[in-house]
């Protein structure tokens, strides 16, 4: 079952939305070994699912490479991708995504049946996996008759049908209470001990202790620690660029700045021009989002830079 290391190198995914270029993944690199649990940690929109899609051969990245053992995943095309997903990857989806008309047993067997395995063989494998996830007595229940945790365990079992070396789980505990989540976490730990590599995307900190490797999808910024300070810029000078990490909030003391968004074709759109006593850049640090626009000095400008906490206490509460 083991296949060798997973190496993600300088992965970039860029797409255009409403005319703007979005980069959910921008130069991401990490490596993991068989038998490891890799936790992709980050808030919604940080590119976790995009990364899972790339790892699973569902999405082709804009640049960079993914290697799984000897396989160059990013070089696989067309029907080869279906075969890659079928043979090498097991998927567990946040929404469980069980087929409502099929029993738990049939849901597990279906990918095997559709890829040409015999009915008896597929159902026997499903029984084996149901036993492995502790649901041997629920095989003939349809998803509607199972709890969320049981459905997720069936979904995990389905992902293991072809005995893949890499299991990709998207927010597997997101819709579960703590008891059900614990059962899933224990199940994932058990699967790792079989030598399988498991990549889990989550914003659930409960998964952190079981991780062998944590990939921070949106690096935590200790902006609170930065002291308040003055910034001066000459006309035309840039304060920060769209996509930069967000750490500070700025209040204009004198002069004017332009808020600019970079479009997909590389051109720029001026969103606003701000002057003295106006502030900007607060949402990024508050929400842990990257900068959504660039800021450039229109004239010579003097700014006061605050950490989000200080800005909230001293400036925001006054307004």
């Amino acid at each position: 079952m083991t296949i060798g290391p997973l190496i993600v190198d300088e992965l970039v995914v860029e797409y255009v939305h409403d005319g703007y270029a979005i980069r959910p993944l921008d130069g991401l690199s990490f490596a993991a070994q068989s038998g490891e649990i890799v936790v992709l940690l980050g808030p919604s929109g940080s590119g976790k699912t995009t990364l899972l899609s790339c790892l699973g051969g569902i999405l082709t990245p804009t640049s960079g490479s993914i290697r799984l053992g000897d396989l160059d995943v990013t070089a696989i095309k067309g029907k080869g991708l279906s075969a890659f997903r079928r043979d090498q990857i097991g998927f567990v989806f946040q929404a469980f995504n069980l087929i409502p008309s099929l029993t738990a047993r049939e849901n597990i067997a279906m990918p095997l049946l559709l890829s040409g395995h015999g009915r008896t063989e597929s159902l026997a494998r499903a029984d084996e996996l149901l036993d492995e996830v502790g649901l041997a007595d629920r095989g003939n229940h349809v998803p509607g008759k199972l709890s969320g945790g049981q459905q997720q365990r069936v979904a995990v079992a389905r992902g293991l049908g072809h005995n893949p070396p890499l299991l990709l789980a998207d927010e597997p505990t997101a819709n579960l209470d703590h008891i059900q989540a614990e059962a899933i976490i224990r199940l994932l730990q058990g699967l790792r001990s079989e030598g399988r590599m498991i990549v889990v995307s989550t914003h659930d900190a409960r998964l952190v202790p079981i991780a062998d490797k944590i990939v921070q999808m949106a690096p935590h910024i200790d902006a609170e620690e930065q002291p308040t300070h003055q910034v001066t810029l000459a006309a035309g000078e840039s304060l920060f660029e769209q996509g930069d990490r967000s750490d500070l909030v700025y209040v204009i003391v004198s002069g004017e700045v332009d808020i600019i968004r970079v479009l997909a074709d590389g051109s720029e759109e001026q969103l606003n021009r701000l002057g003295p006593d106006q502030y900007f850049g607060e949402l990024g640090p508050f929400l842990d989002f990257p900068r959504s626009a660039s800021v450039r000095a229109h004239t010579a400008v003097e700014l006061t830079a605050y950490s989000p906490r200080v800005f909230r206490e001293k400036i925001l509460h006054k307004h």
Binding site: I58, A95, I99, M110, L113, S115
Partner: protein, 347 residues
Amino acid sequence: MILLTFRDLIYRRTRFLVVTLLAAVVFALLFVMTGLVEQFHREPFDTVEAFDASAWIVPEGISGPFTASSTMPSATMAEVDADVTAAVVTSRSSLSDGDDTSEVILVGHTPGSLGTPQTVNGRPAEGPGELVADTSLGLEVDQTATVAGVDFIVVGESQDTTLLAGVPVVFMTLSDAQDLVFRTNEVVSALLVDGEVRALPPGTVALTPDAVAEDVLEPLEGAIGAVDLVRALLWVVAAIIIGAIVYLSALERQRDFAVLKAVGSPNSSLIGSLALQAALVALVSVALAAVIQMFLAPAFPMKVRVPARVFWQLPLLAVLMALVAGAAGMRRVLKSDPAEAFSGAGA
């Protein structure tokens, strides 16, 4: 693939049942319309064949004995050099049995000669005042019926002797028909011959039975065309019904297909599942339709003659149509993005 198809059919059984019944009604109408068209086409050939003649002699310029006013002197018969020759009178008339009046085609024949009908009940007309009526008139032997104001006794019934889309033929002796139609025995409508025709009287032509039957079909071309158009429309309706259910199914199961694609299931299996569903709906509908048409057919004023070949042709065409109609749904499956499996909240 089969499991996926059947389980989904059971899961959405109410909808599939309603759609199957709807399609079955449409297919039943298709059976009936096909039976009507068949009857339109076969009726004149069967009836003309009942006259047992190898050729019909009519005056030049007359398209046929049943569609034009055909008259020729009775003496013309003596000029025909053929193995067997008999005179007939044909004319449109009306028949009343006391309660109802029906349009009929009157045929006068020489008893025992060409043109004498086979009876399924009673015997042929042999003497004055006797009549053989087609069974569709519902007359009984020994009953009195009035043709063109003259009373006749029904002595027999013939079957499948109708023309011009169900107009029944009544048979009587040649002299009775001549009296009714021409008021003289010196005129006939046509001459029937059997065997070799060695010489034709001047000013006459010999028509084959097929030519006579095709001539009878001419006035019905418009009606046949209309029924054919209705048949085509019924196919369109059936295609829309089945196409819509397949498309809806593909739409609702988009997430399922995305998930199955994500886990490596080939497109062919997923499309095959949907195609099988479409074919099954079509086949079950046609099977139900074959039963429904048996109850529908008697309600039609014309005989509905569904040919045996239709019972295998229609299911075959229905399956083909369902596959074509379901193509939009199948294309949707083909285009479904496995990445959709990642989207959305918990079920």
